[in-house]
């Protein structure tokens, strides 16, 4: 019984890690196809990918749209959470419901709705129309995280600041935001992760200045290639480094 548990665990890890292992190993393939037999180690595919101008442009686009759209979503989500948590507004349950609604709809439907709107208003598709979509996608998340983090402790501090003559802006900027910093950071990084990896909104709402997932998608059309493995591996390694860094930083702070 005891041994069976460990066997299951090993099998589970095998299943979970297999595709990523294959992806990384065959990105070093010294041949034209990323399938067995393994013909030797080569870095040419990584080099080719790093010198690919379209890919690097897509990478920059992804970083830009993820950073900006997450910041916009975070600011709006934080302000709305503050407003709804601190002030009793009529119909606040409905307001919360409306703000959370985009989360219950699949991204494909969000994208199709926005595409319809942009078509009807004659707005030209660009990186920024995709950015608008990413804000819609991440706003409920940012709002929910900020709202959940607003406790009584902050409330007392905010009231004290107001009694001492702070304006509303000063309260937000000098008291609430610093006290909620961990939640704000978490919301921001989660948004960046989602936006960075988001495909369908970016696919339908951009035209020429595409993001990285869309560029990788178009690479797939030419079939299996170690170059695609190399892109995937590089994205993977960068993400893991970022996660480990975040983990170390958060842990270092906790201790």
């Amino acid at each position: 019984m005891r041994g069976l548990g460990w066997v299951y665990l090993a099998a589970g890890y095998g299943f979970i890690l297999l595709p990523v292992a294959v992806l990384v190993v065959f990105s070093f393939q010294d041949g034209r196809l990323p399938v067995p037999p393994f013909q030797g180690v080569s870095l040419k595919w990584h080099a080719q990918v790093l010198s690919d101008r379209n890919l690097m442009a897509a990478l920059a686009n992804s970083a830009l749209v993820a950073g900006v759209s997450s910041a916009v979503a975070l600011i709006m989500g934080f302000l709305a959470a503050h407003g709804l948590a601190r002030v009793h507004l009529p119909g606040s349950v409905w307001l919360r419901g409306l703000l959370m609604a985009p989360m219950t709809v699949s991204a494909l439907i969000l994208a199709l709705g926005l595409l319809t709107l942009f078509n009807q208003t004659g707005l030209r598709l660009s990186l920024w129309t995709a950015g608008v979509g990413h804000v819609v996608l991440n706003l409920p998340l940012c709002f929910a995280i900020c709202y959940a983090a607003m406790g009584d402790q902050q409330k007392a501090a905010e009231r004290a600041a107001r009694d001492l003559g702070a304006t509303e802006v000063q309260v937000l900027w000098l008291v609430s935001a610093p006290m909620l910093a961990p939640a704000l950071l978490a919301a921001f990084f989660l948004s960046v992760t989602f936006s960075w990896d988001e495909f369908i909104l970016a696919f339908l709402l951009t035209r020429f200045d595409v993001t990285l997932p869309v560029e990788i998608w178009s690479m797939l059309r030419s079939g299996l290639s170690p170059a695609t493995n190399a892109v995937g591996s590089l994205v993977f390694v960068v993400s893991v480094i970022a996660v480990v860094l975040a983990e170390v930083l958060v842990f270092a702070r906790k201790r």
């Binding site: 709809v105 439907i109 819609v136």
Partner: protein, 284 residues
């Protein structure tokens, strides 16, 4: 101006940006899409109106309706299989792995999250393909005579989905398991229950709300996904999102695509209503 009224004005001011954004880029587009689903195509032109023709066509044309059934079948299989695989995994990590290693064990179990979604499906192509790792290994071991045809079938789609959702569910179920007080299991053991009995009669019922929440999340994400079935399943056995994208791309039939999206949304809403009794979205 009274203090309460001043407070309320500040409150509205704070909520306004998010509210306006959500209305302009979620509610209005959604209404536009809904209206569009009742429009007609005449040649390449969209004729607005109140025509239920797209919905009639969906329910009467087998090629269209079949996509909904395919989506539902795949999603149900994926949800059930993923929960059944993830629960033991989460339980082993929560109860067998020493506490100081649990964080690492969990991190390892979701490691593939950190590569991009598109790349993950592509990676399964490398494993399952005709010349892929799996076929080469099985052929080499002499277990099969000819390579298995997995890619471009429903099996490949299911495997790709199960991989993703096992990771997701392991996380959510683990979070539920470690929240349980160990006293329940201790009390059951004092009363003479064996290990399997404790798991089946005590721990499983207590974690059921969390499991249902995870299963609902799986259902919603799975049925709305385009990438995995498109890369792994191919074009033979279309799912509803694939059909929607096909309408957008090749034929430019926005009204029909809108109607299909409305159908997709209704299915998700029904699933929500069905599981709402057990859903604890706050426990995620």
């Amino acid at each position: 101006m009274s203090l309460a009224a001043r407070d309320r004005r500040v409150g509205w001011g704070l909520v306004a940006p998010a509210l306006i954004w959500t209305c302009a880029f979620f509610a209005v587009p959604f209404a536009a899409m809904l209206a569009l689903s009742f429009a007609r195509m005449e040649g390449r032109a969209v004729v607005p109106g109140l025509d239920p023709g797209n919905y009639v066509r969906f329910f009467s044309e087998w090629a269209l309706f079949k996509a909904l059934l395919t989506s539902l079948e795949i999603t149900l299989v994926v949800t059930v299989v993923s929960v059944m695989l993830a629960y033991p995994l989460a339980a082993i990590i929560a109860f067998r792995v020493p506490p100081r290693w649990q964080r690492l064990a969990l991190l390892l179990a979701v490691l593939p999250f950190w590569t991009s979604y598109v790349v993950r499906s592509y990676a399964w192509l490398l494993v399952l393909g005709q010349n892929g790792v799996l076929n080469k290994a099985l052929l080499g071991a002499g277990l099969i005579a000819a390579p298995l045809e997995i890619v471009a079938t429903r099996t490949a789609t299911v495997i790709g989905f199960v991989h993703f959702f096992v990771m997701l569910l392991t996380l959510t179920i683990y979070a539920n398991l470690v929240q349980l007080s160990p006293n329940y299991a201790r009390a059951a053991r004092d009363l003479g229950a064996g290990g399997v009995q404790v798991l089946w009669f005590v721990i499983l019922p207590l974690t059921l709300p969390g499991v249902v929440t995870g299963a609902f999340l799986t259902f919603v994400l799975c049925i709305g996904d385009y990438i995995t079935p498109q890369i792994l399943g191919g074009n033979n056995d279309l799912t509803l999102p694939q059909l929607i994208m096909l309408q957008l791309g090749r034929s430019g039939n926005f009204p029909l695509a809108s109607a299909l999206s409305v159908v997709l949304m209704v299915v998700v809403t029904v699933a929500y209503a069905g599981s709402a009794r057990w859903l604890r979205l706050d426990r995620l």
